[in-house]
């Protein structure tokens, strides 16, 4: 059987991101676990990571690793700022959920993410070398979510276990739905 080379040079890349943070607020400690979506592309001579969910965040770097680290730092600082502004844990949780769920007004990056995923799933392209070492994950098995838990002494029904720990991760969307 004749094997053909992938035909499409993908310019935008569908990335899955998982992050976990402990955030101190006014009289509370919160743990935020986020599984999100970002779009990466090369622009202006740099790699950019644009938020899709959460949408309102962007970061650049000389390479994809640096872009991810800056994105990760920006995300954490947004959580810090929200904690600074929140009088209670409930206020904090409400605003973090709003931040996570508020899409871009024009949904352009979300559409680009979906289009890129479709191309990746079709097998019509290979991720460029820059992404060669990233793990592959399927969006089907890595759904988008945000979980905000109170983990201080005031928390009700709190059970803490080592299995709750989540490593930072960013992955290239897998070629086929799992």
């Amino acid at each position: 059987m004749l094997m053909t080379e992938p035909a499409i040079d993908l310019k935008e890349h569908p990335i899955l991101v998982t992050l976990q943070d402990s955030i101190s607020g006014n009289g509370f400690l919160a743990r935020i676990t986020m599984s999100g979506r970002t779009l990466m592309r090369e622009e202006d001579g740099k790699w950019w990571m644009y938020g899709v969910r959460p949408a309102g965040i962007a970061a650049s770097g000389a390479n994809i690793e640096e872009a991810f680290l800056r994105f990760r730092n920006s995300y954490k600082e947004i959580l810090f700022d929200i904690a600074q502004e929140s009088a209670t844990f409930e206020d904090f949780a409400t605003e973090v959920k709003r931040f996570f769920n508020e899409g871009d007004a024009d949904n352009e990056d979300e559409q680009s993410w979906e289009n890129a995923l479709t191309v990746v799933r079709s097998g019509a392209c290979n991720p460029p070398t820059a992404f060669a070492n990233l793990p592959r994950r399927s969006p089907n098995t890595t759904p988008s979510f945000i979980k905000i838990e109170r983990v201080d002494a005031e928390a009700k029904d709190l059970r803490l276990m080592p299995s709750d720990n989540v490593s930072d991760m960013y992955a290239y969307s897998a070629p086929k739905a799992a």
């Binding site: 950019w48 309102g56 962007a58 650049s60 947004i78 600074q84 871009d104 007004a105 024009d106």
Partner: protein, 60 residues
């Protein structure tokens, strides 16, 4: 650009950056200091729904 494309917007400083509010939308990731990279302007414009207006200024 924001004066023309997002009339009535507000900007406030936080410990780590600047928050731009326009209508019912909030963009929390505007860098603290000026000399902002174009990617941030692009993202903010898309998030706030002012991308087409912002393009007319020739900065994105």
């Amino acid at each position: 650009m924001l004066e023309k494309c997002a009339p009535g917007h507000t900007i406030r400083r936080t410990t780590h950056g600047r928050v731009v509010s326009f209508g019912d939308r909030v963009y929390r990731d505007l860098p603290k200091f000026d000399e902002i990279e174009l990617g941030h302007i692009r993202k903010m414009s898309r998030h706030l729904g002012i991308y087409e207006c912002a393009k007319k200024f020739g900065i994105i």
